[in-house]
Amino acid sequence: MNVRRAACLCLLGLLAGAPASASEDADRARQALEKGEIRPLDEILRAAREAVPGDVVSVDLKRDDGRWRYKLRILGADGKRRTVKVDARSAKVLDDDDDD
C-alpha cells in the first residue's frame, strides 16, 4: 500500500512538475486550503480511493457555483478509468460515475 501511495505521490509530483498552468492550479489549491475553504488533498484522495479502488492518474480542482470540487481520474486494476468528483470542503464523494 505504501509503495502504491508513494507511486501516487510521484505521479502527483509529475503533475506538479508540468508546465506553468499546472502550478497555477497548485497555487490556487494552496491558497484555498490556507483560507480553510478546502480539505487537504490526502483526505480527498483517501475518500476517493475508498469509493473507487485504483491509482489516481489525474487531479483537477475546479470552482463551480462558488463551491470547490475535485475531479479525480482513477485507473482500476482492470484498466477501467473512472472519474470521481469530490466536494473539496467536506471531502465527500459526490459521484463516481464512469469516465466522461
Binding site: 507511486a7 509529475l14 492518474v57 485507473l75
Partner: protein
C-alpha cells in the same frame, strides 16, 4: 616458504576459496543489479503510462488525444530512447521520439505487462503495456497505452556499476587474503614454537619440551616428552648393562691370562692359544665399553664439536708416545670443520686412527680436513705398509687383524662403530704417501 609448508598450502587454499566466493558474489550482484534495474525501469515506465492514461481523451472521430504530453525531453527527440504510443482501435497516437516508426508489441500482452520489443533504431526496448477503458457506461472505448525505454540506457548504469564493483571486489580479495594469511600464521604459531623448542632439544640446551601448548598440540608434545624420557631411560639401562658385563668379564679375563702364563713352561702352545683368545675377548670387551660410552649420543640431541683443537691435542699426545716422537706429523685442518658428535666421540675415533698410523708409519703421518660445500671429511694418512682389501673388509666384522703389533687390534673397529653412531662414515684406501688412508666423511649442513 617451502612448497611443502602447511602455511603456504592453507594460505593458497584460503585465497582460492575467497576468490571463488567473491567471483560468485560478483555474479550474484550483477544478476541482482539487472533485476533491480529492470524493476526500476518498469516502475518508471508504469508511472508514465498511468500519467498518460490520466490525460488521454477521445476526439469526436475516435482518435486519442493528450491534454498534455509527458514532460521528459527524450519523448520529443526523434529516436530519443524513450517512447510512448496510445492505441484506440485503428487510431494511434505516438510520441515524437518514435518519428517514422511505431511500437509493435502484439495484441496478446496481458495487463499490466512488461515485455521486450524492438526499438525504432533496432535497439532492444523494455516496454510496459497499460490497457485502458474510457468513456461513459455503455459507450466505452478500449485503449492501450505503451511506454518503452531503450535498454542501452540501462546498460550504461550497469557499466557504471561494474566499473565500481570489480575494483571493490579486488580490494576485498586483497584485504580478506591478508587477513586469512595473518589468521593462518596465528593458528600455526604453536608449531613454530615447537620447532624452536625441538631445535633447543637437538642442541642439547633443553632435555624436554615445555608443556605450555594449546590443547590441540599438547598431546603431541606430551608424547614427544614421554619418548624422550623412555629413550633416555633405555639408553642408561643399556649402557649400564654393557658396562656391567664388560667390567664383569675383565676379572675372569685377567685370571685366564694369569693361568695361561702359569702353564707357559708346561705347554707353551696351549698357553699361547689361551692368551690369544683372552686377548681377543679383551678386545671385544673394550669395544662393548666404547659402544656403551657413545650410546648416549644416539638420541634426539644433535651435537657438534670443532675438529682442529682435538686434532692438535691428540697429535701432541702422539708425539710423546713411543715411535711417535720420531715421526713427522703434519696437521692441516680448517678451523671451521665441525664433527657431528661430542668431543669425546671424536677423540675416540681420531685417537684410534692416529694411534694406528703411529704404529704403522715409517716416517710421516698427515691429518687433513675438508670443509667445502657438500660432504665434510677428515683424513689420516701414513706412509706405512697399508692394508689389503680383505683386511679392510675384516674391520667391519670386528676381526682382529694386526697381530704383529701390540694392542687389542680393535681400535679401528671401535673407531668405525663410534663414527657410524654419529652419522659419519669411515673408509679406508691407499694413501698417496704410500700407506693407509683412513677417511671420515659426514654430510655437510
Amino acid at each position: 616458504m617451502k612448497r611443502n609448508s602447511l602455511r603456504l598450502r592453507l594460505g593458497l587454499a584460503a585465497a582460492a576459496l575467497i576468490a571463488l566466493a567473491l567471483v560468485l558474489a560478483g555474479i550474484g550482484l550483477t544478476v541482482i543489479l539487472d533485476q533491480v534495474l529492470d524493476a526500476r525501469t518498469a516502475d518508471a515506465l508504469d508511472r508514465t503510462a498511468k500519467l498518460i492514461a490520466g490525460r488521454v481523451s477521445l476526439a469526436p472521430d475516435g482518435s486519442p488525444t493528450l491534454s498534455r504530453e509527458p514532460p521528459d525531453p527524450r519523448f520529443a527527440t526523434p529516436y530519443g530512447g524513450l517512447y510512448w504510443q496510445v492505441e484506440a482501435g485503428s487510431h494511434v497516437l505516438r510520441s515524437r521520439s518514435l518519428w517514422d516508426r511505431s511500437l509493435d508489441v502484439g495484441a496478446g500482452a496481458k495487463p499490466p505487462a512488461t515485455i521486450d520489443t524492438t526499438g525504432p533504431d533496432g535497439g532492444r526496448l523494455i516496454a510496459v503495456v497499460q490497457p485502458l477503458t474510457i468513456g461513459p457506461q455503455g459507450a466505452e472505448t478500449e485503449l492501450r497505452v505503451i511506454v518503452a525505454e531503450d535498454r542501452r540506457n540501462l546498460a550504461a548504469s550497469r557499466t557504471t556499476f561494474l566499473r565500481l564493483l570489480v575494483p571493490a571486489l579486488v580490494a576485498l580479495f586483497v584485504v580478506l587474503t591478508l587477513a586469512m594469511a595473518l589468521f593462518v600464521r596465528r593458528a600455526l604459531a604453536p608449531f613454530r614454537v615447537l620447532q624452536t623448542d625441538l631445535l633447543a632439544v637437538h642442541a642439547g640446551t633443553r632435555t624436554r619440551l615445555p608443556e605450555h601448548f594449546p590443547d590441540e598440540v599438547r598431546p603431541l608434545v606430551a608424547d614427544l616428552n614421554r619418548l624422550l624420557d623412555v629413550q633416555e631411560r633405555a639408553l642408561i639401562r643399556a649402557r649400564d648393562a654393557a658396562a656391567d658385563m664388560a667390567h664383569g668379564l675383565k676379572t675372569p679375563l685377567a685370571v685366564l691370562d694369569a693361568l695361561a702364563r702359569r702353564t707357559d713352561t708346561a705347554d707353551p702352545t696351549l698357553s699361547a692359544e689361551i692368551a690369544e683368545q683372552a686377548r681377543a675377548m679383551g678386545g671385544q670387551v673394550e669395544r662393548a665399553l666404547a659402544r656403551a660410552r657413545i650410546a648416549a649420543s644416539g638420541d634426539l640431541r644433535r651435537r657438534s664439536c670443532r675438529v682442529a683443537p682435538v686434532a692438535e691435542r691428540l697429535v701432541a699426545t702422539m708425539r710423546r708416545l713411543p715411535e711417535g716422537d720420531s715421526l713427522d706429523w703434519a696437521v692441516s685442518v680448517p678451523e671451521a670443520l665441525a664433527y657431528p658428535g661430542e668431543e669425546g666421540e671424536l677423540m675416540e675415533v681420531l685417537g684410534n686412527l692416529l694411534d694406528n698410523a703411529r704404529k704403522w708409519a715409517h716416517r710421516r703421518v698427515r691429518v687433513t680436513g675438508q670443509t667445502e660445500s657438500g660432504p665434510q671429511s677428515l683424513a689420516v694418512e701414513d706412509d706405512g705398509p697399508g692394508m689389503s682389501a680383505a683386511a679392510i673388509a675384516g674391520i667391519g666384522r670386528g676381526q682382529r687383524w694386526d697381530e704383529t703389533r701390540p694392542g687389542t687390534g680393535f681400535g679401528i673397529a671401535i673407531a668405525r662403530d663410534v663414527a657410524e653412531a654419529a652419522g659419519a662414515q669411515l673408509d679406508f684406501g691407499r694413501s698417496e704417501l704410500g700407506g693407509l688412508r683412513a677417511e671420515l666423511t659426514w654430510p655437510g649442513r
